[in-house]
């Protein structure tokens, strides 16, 4: 059994003291016993990122339209767009997805990647649409996270759009229809 006391610890944070020098032994033989020098180094990048052929999906979100693609050869529907069919290799065309879908599965994230920690707890959902076998990953809003249960699967949901688009997949999110 884990003892509660073992879990008590001061939170580790990343700020610290700027270090310009360290003690150094007279005898070089002592160097192998030296503690490692650990420094904080920044690692940040801005990317010039293109959505390429998938750009119309994000233009759709900015205009309150949820787009997928349909294969012009076999009719397969890609809810998350692909401009070439993953089933038959045919070329796909843009189409508007139905105005309502159902919860295929979901979760409540109480932790997350650093970028999203401040938003926890948040709900992720995979939405299914009539006539399509592929799904869409999105956020589910308006559901009490403490009420998470498999009974939510199959419930009807509809998309809502941000008023000011950020050209990210979170420009759309889903809420329960009922």
């Amino acid at each position: 059994m884990k003892k509660e006391k073992e879990n008590i610890a001061m939170p580790e944070t990343e700020e610290g003291t700027v270090l310009f020098n360290v003690p150094f032994p007279k005898d070089l033989k002592q160097l192998k016993g030296m503690s490692p020098i650990i420094t904080l180094q920044h690692y940040g990048i801005n990317y010039i990122h293109s959505y390429g052929q998938d750009s119309p999906f994000f233009a759709g979100l900015a205009n309150g339209r949820l787009l997928g693609t349909r294969c012009t050869s076999c009719g397969y529907v890609h809810v998350t767009p692909k401009l070439h069919c993953q089933q038959c290799g045919g070329e796909c065309e843009w189409m508007e997805l139905p105005k309502e879908g159902r919860i295929h599965t979901f979760t409540v994230c109480y932790f997350g990647s650093e970028e999203f920690l401040k938003e926890t707890p948040f709900m992720l959902v995979l939405v299914e649409f009539a006539g399509a076998k592929t799904l869409m990953l999105s956020r589910l809003l308006g559901v009490d996270p403490s009420k998470a249960s498999v009974d939510l699967i199959g419930k009807r949901v509809k998309p809502r759009f941000k008023r000011n688009s950020k050209f990210k997949p979170t420009d759309v999110y889903f809420v329960l229809t009922e």
């Binding site: 059994m1 884990k2 580790e12 990343e14 503690s35 490692p36 650990i38 690692y43 959505y51 998938d54 890609h78 809810v79 998350t80 692909k82 993953q86 089933q87 295929h104 599965t105 979901f106 979760t107 409540v108 994230c109 109480y110 932790f111 997350g112 990647s113 650093e114 970028e115 999203f116 920690l117 938003e119 948040f122 992720l124 959902v125 995979l126 076998k133 592929t134 799904l135 869409m136 990953l137 999105s138 956020r139 996270p145 998470a148 498999v150 699967i153 990210k168 997949p169 979170t170």
Partner: protein, 436 residues
């Protein structure tokens, strides 16, 4: 292709952080252990080894491109051939198979597969961000990229389709942590109960902190050789090797976005029939088609007809308790949908260890006797090779020598399977190790 053998292995203990070592030294320690275990000096090894394959997952964690060659020069193995492989969580498993191919093809007689990861260089939540970059950064990552969240969604669907229970998932955690309690290489050695797992903080419903593996620093090395290579090594070291044959390798893939996975028919294993799966949409997001593909190819190559009869133990990629249950099914240890009941009955537990649980069919086929990723840790590039080393020692019956006790030695182990898994089931490798 010609027969390939694993002849030695080594592991640098997985830990939360190894600030006292750079990645080069981490690999060197595992490498030196592998050489010492077959009585090979550095010089003899350099003379015998034909080339290497390097494994590390993330350029973000390492923040050093071409880190593979920096290990190779530290080991003194330049200018011999070498390259790095990358395939998410399966990087180590892919590395093992690329070394296999180098030997099987006749290109090399002796090949070193080495892997490492240095995940302690960022905090846990930044680490989760780095890992989540292994999801589509246009459509998936920005929604709230978090692998535990992705796996939670998959198991919620598994629960809906098949009635899998959170307590069954917790039993996987109890099993793997208690196994690791007897493994000196494990990062976490804890005696847990089902209640401990369920009462631990919720990470992504229904997965708690004890349903999820931890991040680690660590390294592992596997030495592979042909029959000619074994003769060379035996001549060089003057000792008789105890090789283990790599009798099957298989690999499968699936779409990066789990949302894109189609619904079709199950890829059947020899002991299954289409009647087993009438009306099941497959793989959906509840099963790993890549895992089934890898399994089928590896079983076919090794001549495995019924895994429960033909395999003595499995080391599989339990990054989550839920994915261990899903993988029982992919590997045909039970039918699709029966994974929860399979663990509940005790099948994947070791027969001789006390888990504080009542188990009806204890020890049918031990899964993760080492403690798996769940408790040993998951320094991604090293993980698949760690599994190879543990499986090698199991088939060699040398667990006592390497662990200092034989509690985790699978009795009469003649053949084992290792399983390495990436993404949301994107790349999966299965390899079979058996008595030579």
């Amino acid at each position: 292709m010609r027969p390939v053998y694993m002849v030695s292995g080594g592991i640098t203990k997985f830990a939360k952080a190894h600030p006292e070592m750079t990645f080069q030294l981490m690999v060197k320690k595992a490498y030196d252990y592998a050489l010492a275990d077959i009585g090979l000096t550095h010089r003899e090894a350099v003379d015998a080894i034909d080339g290497v394959v390097a494994s590390y997952f993330s350029d973000h964690f390492t923040r050093q491109l071409m880190a593979g060659i920096m290990v190779q020069d530290y080991l003194g193995l330049v200018p011999k051939p070498g390259h790095r492989v990358e395939g998410g969580g399966a990087t180590g498993g892919i590395c093992f198979q690329e070394a296999y191919k180098s030997v099987a093809s006749g290109v090399m007689d002796v090949c070193v597969a080495y892997g490492f990861e240095t995940m302690s260089h960022v905090n846990t939540w930044k680490g989760n961000e780095f890992i989540a970059l292994a999801s589509d950064v246009n459509f998936d990552y920005p929604v709230g990229g978090f692998y535990t969240g992705y796996y939670a969604m998959m198991v919620v669907r598994h629960m809906k389709e098949f009635g899998t229970k959170v307590e069954q998932m917790a039993m996987v955690s109890v099993k793997n942590h208690i196994n690791a309690y007897h493994n000196p290489y494990a990062q976490k050695r804890e005696q847990l109960t089902i209640e401990d797992v369920r009462n631990s903080p919720m990470v992504a419903w229904p997965l708690t902190r004890l349903d999820v593996c931890v991040m680690s620093d660590g390294a592992a090395v596997a030495l592979l050789a042909s029959e000619e290579g074994i003769r060379k090594l035996e001549k060089a070291s003057g000792t008789r090797l105890r090789p283990v044959r790599v009798s099957g390798v298989g690999r499968g893939t699936d779409s990066m976005r789990m949302a894109d996975r189609p619904h079709g028919k199950v890829i059947l294993l020899p002991h299954e029939s289409p009647d087993d799966y009438r009306g099941l949409d497959y793989p959906g997001i509840h099963s790993f088609r890549a895992g089934r593909m890898a399994t089928k190819l590896a079983y076919d190559m090794a001549g495995i007809k019924d895994p429960l009869k033909d395999i003595d133990f499995v080391e599989l990629h339990d990054a989550y308790t839920s994915s261990e249950i899903q993988t029982y099914e992919d590997m045909g240890l039970c039918r699709y949908g029966e994974g929860g009941k399979f663990v509940e009955a005790g099948n994947p537990f070791l027969p001789n260890i006390d888990y504080g649980l009542k188990l009806k069919k204890k020890g049918t086929i031990p899964v993760n006797p080492s403690g798996g990723l769940m408790a040993c840790g998951h320094p991604v590039g090293a993980t698949g090779l760690m599994q190879a080393v543990f499986a090698f020692w199991q088939v060699q019956h040398s667990i006592k020598k390497h662990f200092g006790n034989d509690l985790l030695q699978v009795r009469d182990a003649k053949r084992g399977a290792i399983h390495s898994h990436a993404g949301t089931g994107t790349y999966v490798t299965v390899s079979i190790l058996e008595k030579a």
